[in-house]
Amino acid sequence: MIVRQLYSRQGRQLLSVNRQASILRRFQSTETQTPTTTVETAVKVETEEPVIPVPTESALDNSTSSDSIRLAATEAFSRQRQNVKNFKKLGSVVRNKYWPDALIENPPLPSQITLELLLANQTHLGHSTSRWNPSNSQYIFGIRDGIHIISLELTAAYLRRAAKVVEEVAALGGLILFVGTRQGQKHAVVRAAELTGGYHVFDRWIPGSLTNGNEILGSCDRKVVNAFDEELPEWAERLESRGSLKPDLVVCLNPLESTVLLHECGLNNVPTIGIIDTDADSTKVTYPIPANDDSLRSVSLIAGVLGRAGEAGQRRRFESAKRGVLGYRSVSLGKKDVAERPESEDAA
């Protein structure tokens, strides 16, 4: 846009602004001030221009001057941080503060499950009685303020059982998938999968990932690992003929929305663990955990406990591998593989 066009549109405002006078002047038939740079001066300006070191992106890597600038900036920043740290000690002290990430970053072990812990994390709160699913009657402790209260003893018991399942599956080298597609569950899901050495889905379960897995997951990479989970690249070409992988255990944090997932798991005979609130159908999952699935704290706690259980299972698996014991049936990949071990008692 040409600047002088402003004149016709916003002439009244511009008239009052003094800095625009040069633009207006050309509309009056008086001498306009034109910049009187000539060709020669333009060339001179180029040659006389002092070289100012500008810290550009490319200059950051190898120029010494930018290195020194960088160093100085880092020093100044760390000094400022130190100051903040020093001054933070002054004044009042806040104790016993709630740190929301603590439950996710450092979840309790299954052995540490107490009713107080469960209560503190709101696992007992069910739904309004009108939304009750009668299949949960056995888990319900009572009614308070129009909502069902889940029996915490049962929650603890079922949670321990689920933790045991997760631990055993992890110990036997099964693939454990954590699914939590609700808003805010992402962090807990990823952390639990990380602890377990398992897998996570936190965005959307693509329908058909199990029933039509070759189409949907066919292009995703797989690898062959030994008992220590170290990759064996020489076996990689044998993978191509094999179909997509299916999880050996699915932990579903929101069974209410994951009907497709649970249906597919049922079709493929994949055992599932689910948080069953009072409005959910407990028959949709293999191992229900009666608990509140609407509170992020409750979900984080349960996912964390299961993650810790999986961590323990993984530890057991590695220990047995160190002893040279493969606690599960190894995969058969063609003729290099000799007779399977009869020893794997309860392989998943």
């Binding site: 600047v3 740079t37 960088r70 000799v338």
Partner: protein, 321 residues
């Protein structure tokens, strides 16, 4: 029952069995016969079997039987145990994308307290377009998800460049378009062999190409003089505004080709093209031209008409019945 009660038979059997046991152990000890493929030899099963066997010290000749071989962990390690996905996001269908997302979100959480600069001062990098990113990963990433990813990338890029950690820089480089078009400056354009500078410009529906040579101030547009092409004096001034504001009107000759659009669009397309051509002749004029607004591209176009509207926005009069 007669067998079990008869001691001598049992003893006889034992004496028969012990050599077979020994015979079974023998091949393991012989280094001359490497049988690496035999998984049996790796496993501790023979040891266990041997523990079940009741031996008699008198039957065994000292020196004949040796201790079992060590467990060959190298063989154990080379044996495939499981097939697992490479990425923990395997079941999401687009694992590489989620791995990238989680990685840069982790970096952001880690470095979120670092001081930032305004987006306008952040280093300019050309991020990958969605098609390029899909090709790069080999996954059909939805556009919306990639935009969400880029938001995190923009935020990381706003960290003060002087304090940008190396790992963040490396992670951001993953998303930079190959060749980094914005990073390296384009080669400055030059006059051609006949002393012409060529500039292109667009405005509304018009496209203009201007050839600028040194001269006396003659202007030809599509082979016609300026007054034939632009009856309005305002349009003529617009078209030559770059030369006018830099007081170069009598120092150059202009030959312009312009097509499309109406008179205003054509005139202002010539403005832009002329200013660009002038910058080839005299790069030092850039601040003046920038201030005059002639090298600023006006990207506005006619807004499309919508169904249910009479024009782009105008609605038909509302009638009650």
């Amino acid at each position: 029952m007669a067998w079990s009660s008869s001691n001598c038979v049992v003893h006889a059997m034992q004496s028969i069995r012990s050599p077979t046991v020994l015979r079974a152990l023998l091949p393991q000890q012989s280094a001359a016969r490497p049988n690496i493929l035999r998984k049996v030899s790796l496993l501790p099963t023979p040891l266990q079997q041997r523990t079940n066997v009741r031996n008699y010290a008198t039957e065994l000749q000292p020196g004949e039987v040796q201790a079992a071989a060590e467990i060959d962990f190298e063989q154990f390690k080379a044996r495939p145990a499981r097939i697992v996905p490479v990425s923990p996001s395997y079941f999401s269908g687009i694992p590489k994308f989620y791995d990238h997302l989680l990685q840069i979100e982790r970096l952001l959480a880690q470095h979120t307290t670092l001081p930032t600069v305004p987006p306008s001062e952040a280093p300019r990098r050309a991020w990958m377009k969605i098609a390029q990113f899909r090709e790069h990963l080999g996954e059909e990433v939805p556009t919306k998800k990639y935009m969400g990813l880029l938001k995190v990338v923009y935020r990381l890029n706003c960290i003060d460049p002087k304090l940008l950690p190396a790992e963040v820089d490396a992670a951001l480089q993953e998303f930079v378009r190959p060749g980094n078009p914005l990073g390296e400056k384009p080669k400055p354009r030059e006059l051609d062999g006949m002393g012409r500078a060529r500039g292109k410009g667009k405005r509304k529906e018009s496209h203009a190409v201007v050839y600028l040579v040194e001269g006396e101030g003659e202007v030809l547009v599509n082979g016609k003089t300026l007054n034939e092409v632009f009856p309005r004096v305002h349009d003529r001034e617009s078209a030559t505004w770059a030369l006018r504001c830099s007081a170069r009107l009598d120092k150059y000759n202009v030959f312009a080709r312009v097509k499309g659009g109406g008179t205003t669009g054509q005139a202002e397309a010539i403005t832009l093209a002329l200013a660009r051509a002038l910058m080839i002749h005299e790069p030092g004029l850039k601040p003046i031209l920038r201030k005059a607004g002639v090298i600023t591209v006006d990207p506005r176009r006619v807004e499309r008409k919508k169904p249910g509207h009479m024009k782009a926005r105008k609605m038909p009069t509302w009638v009650k019945r």
